[in-house]
């Protein structure tokens, strides 16, 4: 299983800090599409994705246990 973390406006829209799904074997792009549809997230496209706290490209394949985080455009500083 895979934990998926939401931040900023995504967290507000989903209404959860995290959800757990089975994403193993899927690419980042596939998981993004799935999650966007399920939670009606229109701006997920502009978010980057991190796997296990490191940015990951859209074609990376997720393994069981990987922690996935969607990273909206950052605004720290």
């Amino acid at each position: 299983m895979n934990k998926i973390l939401f931040f900023a406006h995504l967290r507000d829209e989903v209404g959860e800090e995290s959800v757990t799904i089975d994403a193993s074997g899927k690419t980042v792009a596939e998981v993004k599409a799935l999650v966007a549809e399920q939670y009606k997230l229109q701006k997920l496209d502009s978010a980057m994705t991190a796997i296990n706290e490191e940015f990951a490209p859209n074609d990376e394949v997720i393994k069981d246990g990987d922690v996935i985080a969607f990273i909206p455009p950052v605004s720290g500083g």
Binding site: M48, A69, G76
Partner: protein, 154 residues
């Protein structure tokens, strides 16, 4: 710990103390504070949120990029999260180097990189609403690469 996410007010001196070195003639410190007016709109307060473990890793990555580019540099960065009022300190970046020009340039590099790759977000609260801020201009991000010279002068 040279790279921290803090829930309490940041003690600026303690961040500076981390980069003191006998080889340094210069310490440049950048302090980001909460400004009241942005584009004529009055901010009441901000909420900062971070993906903490990843944010710390990315701050460390920035420090390592700096040490690679500017010889002899030491770097410490603390970013605060939670509710911040006007004039509160959101981030402190301290960079020490042997010579002064490098301390300014390396510090400037750090704040620009923070705004590109560190998973921290701010929500602005105004009298008439609130919004998560982030790249409303849809500009390019540099998740793994480094910004070009031109990107530092925006």
């Amino acid at each position: 710990m040279m790279y921290e996410i803090a829930k309490d007010p940041i003690d600026i001196q303690s961040v500076i103390d981390k980069v003191v070195q006998r080889e340094a003639g210069a310490i440049n410190t950048f302090i980001g504070t909460v400004r009241e007016l942005t584009k004529g709109k009055k901010t009441l307060y901000l909420i900062y949120e971070a993906y903490e473990p990843m944010a710390v890793k990315k701050l460390e990555q920035i420090g390592n990029e700096i040490k690679e580019r500017w010889e002899g540099a030491e770097v410490a960065i603390t970013h605060r999260v939670g509710k911040l009022d006007i004039t509160d300190v959101a981030v402190v970046i301290a960079v020490s180097t042997p010579h002064r020009a490098d301390s300014y340039e390396a510090n400037r590099y750090a704040i620009e990189r923070i705004k590109e790759i560190v998973p921290i977000w701010k929500k602005e609260h105004w009298e008439d609403g609130q919004e998560w801020i982030g790249n409303q201009l849809e500009t390019v991000a540099y998740p793994s690469g480094k910004p070009e010279e031109g990107d530092l002068n925006e």
